[in-house]
């Protein structure tokens, strides 16, 4: 083993992480983990949130320094002190979220990313070189288009092109398809797969989508709670086997069966219009009815106005026009109306949208009821004992992992914050439930529990509006599916009759 020598200047190389251990204080994020990515292979890294996937690749990329363990690049041990060292060795990373400058063109973004941007850029020369580079690549992108004008799929292609342009030959992709439609995801991964097969690239992809692992990866490594849980050749594994390895022996909440028929119209939207923060129309005269005992799913690629629509329903944004009625009464997201109609809201990113990080778990659970008995005596004096008793009960019932009810909610993990919000929103009777990406970034146990709660609310007769970027979640839960594109509802079908390719086409705006 030669230390410090750079790998061969051309061709593919593999990466091995040996006995990686990473501690954050008392917490063991990685415990003696082994990862072996063969040269010229497409390797998938599977694991739940918090399993240590990101920590592991951040160690490889030099963002973190592992407490123990070695990293071999092309068979040679390397001390990667920072991301710059990793880049020099030919390692590149593509993130879940875009890192391109929206106001600049693709060509400008590519040149900007270089380490050696000249003080004066000779654009004609650069453009010629970029076109020559692009001719060799499987992806085609419009070089002079502004990044803000191109679709999410094209942006993700640009991110990958940027890595290739910078001559990175080992790519780490961190959930690269989370913002793409299924068709876009297949296209991008298929092209990368071709490059791997041609011997031009080695890929390590973090994902939690088994479909992509089965279709594109050669080998897989599975982590669970910071430990190596399993792995092997994808051809020899089934999605079920991988799922079992990922979640271990943990028991998941069983989702109740769909039962009962839809009743009367409960939530009605008539020509609702809303602007985004920049002042352009994000929600374009949407009309929609959700009936009691029905889950209506809104599908769509993120950024098509779903967020603004939910914000209007949640009272976080003023509607510009249109009318919302709940059980026939006009609705303006006032506390009294929410209470009268027994409305519950499960927004995305609960810590940002529905909690006060610095306040305790008990306080956060009481947000809907704190001004009524038993929480308030005489309507004004807070009764601390009632807060504690109620929280203790709900913490047990909803399996919220917290040290005490008085712990600030920001100290909890994402799944437990969402459980606390569930406890607050779903503990009482629910007649209208609005949920937006309620499972984003959560582990299996939390997802199963949330899905079960949503289905149970539906079966009890609640009208449920479920906005999600996860098509699988929508297909599993909703009775009716609508697709939102550029602020409009462009497609509607009963979920049992929905055709996935048609849905995907509408999501992409065709």
């Amino acid at each position: 083993m030669i230390i410090g020598e750079t790998p061969p200047p051309s061709g593919v190389f593999g990466v091995d992480a040996i006995a990686m251990t990473m501690r954050f204080g008392d917490f063991l994020a990685l415990d003696n983990v082994e990862l072996k990515v063969r040269p010229g292979s497409f390797h998938a890294l599977l694991g739940e949130n918090g399993a240590g996937k990101s920590t592991l690749v951040k160690c490889i990329m030099g963002y973190y320094h592992a407490t123990e363990g070695n990293i071999l690049i092309g068979g040679r041990e390397q001390a990667i002190a920072n991301p710059k060292d990793a880049h020099a060795l030919g390692l590149g990373m593509v993130y879940q979220h875009f890192t391109l400058v929206p106001a600049m063109t693709i060509a400008e973004n590519l040149v900007l990313a270089r380490d050696d941007v000249p003080a004066v850029v000779n654009w004609p020369k650069e453009m010629k070189q970029l076109e020559a580079f692009l001719a060799r690549m499987p992806f085609k992108v419009p070089l002079s288009a502004k990044v803000s004008d191109i679709s999410a799929g094209e942006r993700q292609k640009c991110e990958i092109l940027k890595q290739l342009y910078l001559k990175r030959r080992f790519l780490i992709l961190d959930e690269p398809t989370s913002v793409l439609t299924p068709a876009e995801a297949d296209e991008v991964l298929g092209m990368l797969r071709d490059m791997v097969v041609r011997g031009e690239l080695t890929i390590l992809m973090i994902t939690h989508k088994f479909r992509e692992v089965m279709a594109f990866a050669d080998e897989v490594t599975i982590l669970r709670r910071g430990k190596l849980a399993g792995g092997g050749k994808v051809a020899e594994l089934t999605p079920d086997a991988m799922a079992r390895t990922m979640i271990g022996a943990e028991e998941l909440t069983v989702q109740p069966l769909r039962s009962g028929e839809a009743g009367q119209a409960r939530l009605e939207l008539a020509k609702v219009r809303a602007l985004d923060d920049a002042g352009t129309v994000a929600v374009h005269d949407i009309s929609l009815t959700v009936r009691a005992g029905e889950i209506v799913g809104i599908a769509g690629v993120s950024g098509n106005g779903q967020r603004q629509l939910v914000e209007v329903l949640a009272g976080q944004r003023e509607a510009e026009g249109g009318e919302i009625r709940v059980a026939g009464d006009p609705y303006h997201a006032r506390r009294e109306e929410m209470r009268r109609h027994k409305m519950s809201l499960l927004p995305e990113e609960p810590l940002k949208n529905a909690c006060v990080g610095g306040m305790s778990v008990a306080d956060n659970i009481a947000f809907r009821e704190f001004d009524r008995a038993p929480f308030a005596s005489g309507g004004w004096w807070l009764n601390r004992g009632a807060f504690r008793d109620d929280a203790t009960k709900k913490i047990r019932q909803y399996r919220i992992k917290t040290r005490t009810p008085e712990t600030p909610i920001s100290a909890l993990s994402g799944g437990n914050v969402q459980r606390a919000v569930l406890a607050r929103e779903l503990a009482g009777d629910v007649e209208v439930l609005i949920a937006a990406n309620p499972c984003f970034g959560l582990d299996f146990a939390a997802v199963a529990q949330i899905h079960a709660e949503i289905m149970a609310a539906r079966n009890r007769g609640a009208a449920v509006l479920l906005v999600s970027e996860d098509l699988d979640e929508l297909l599993e839960l909703s009775d009716r599916l609508v697709v939102m594109f550029h602020g409009e509802l462009v497609y509607e079908a009963r979920t049992s009759e929905a055709d996935l390719t048609v849905v995907g086409r509408h999501m992409a705006g065709h």
Binding site: F27, R335, E336, W380, S413
Partner: protein, 370 residues
Amino acid sequence: MTTEAADSAEAVGAIAPAADPGFLQRYGGTIEYVLIPGAALVGALGVFGIFVAMFGKNPLDLYFYMYYGAFGTWFSWQNTLTRAAPLILTALCTALPAQLGMVIIGGEGALLIGALSATSAALALQGLPPLVVQIAMVCAGVTGGGLWIMLAGALRQYRGVNETISSLLLVYIALAVLNHLVEGAMRDPASLNKPSTREIGAANMIGSIPGTDVHWGLVFGLIAAIAAYILIYHTVFGFAARVAGGNIRAAKIVGLGVSKLILTICFLAGGAAGLAGMVEVAAVQGRTNANLAAGYGFTGILVAFLARQNPLAIIPVAILLGGISASGGLLQRRLGLPDASVLVLQGIIFVFVLASDALYGRIGFLKGKS
């Protein structure tokens, strides 16, 4: 990094849910709230010592005289408490809106308007029993100051104007209004060199706490600070305010009326500073003139920040800062320092306190296990 931290908290909770949290775990936060501002204060005094040494004075003398002038004798204690009274009230003008995430620095303006309103009430009710006049002065002072800061709150809520800037600019408008009235419509013809209003009358003055020279304004301040603490931490209104201040999006999603909260809190905040103005008129000056713009409103901002916007912590901090200003005279006499040196010290303290804000949550040994 944040997810790892959260996961680690979860892991600890899952493994040892019943473990007794250590001393630092339980009190680390509280210790931090005392230690950091304390260290900022000591640091500021150190720098001020260097400043004084440049004048050729011994810093140790300085510290001794500061202590002596602030807390060394019964006389200096009374002087300190008299100065602390308006500081408690003006500090509330910054600390209350801070619960809603607003930075209001216009306590001085509310103090002036409160003083003007209280004086007007007293002059209008001349001849009525003193208690009636005094109650009317309190009401007028609170209402005047309250409406003044409520204006800054309304500008923010309905017009999107930054409340920090508008409340500061309102100070200058308040000063202009005061000067306009004192030199015009309300001027006492007998006040020649220093244009002032007429006196409210000796009978209407609120006087001193029996056995001391400290006026009743101190009691007003203590009651207001304790009431503010109870309001914020023990009532439904305070809870709603903390939700809205902690995360406005969370407040909206549970349907809390944010506008009402902002306007009410701003009114109470301005009311506290207005009460300070009333106290200065009814206990010290006896009339309204430009002397009232003595900077209590601005020092109150410093008090609120040093107290980390906690209404109860404001009381000791106000006494400390009152002491520093009380020692100014002694420093001038004994050390021959310029009158404004105490202001220099206040400025240095402010810089240190603001800079020390970056230290919260970063002191290793206070973090305990989490």
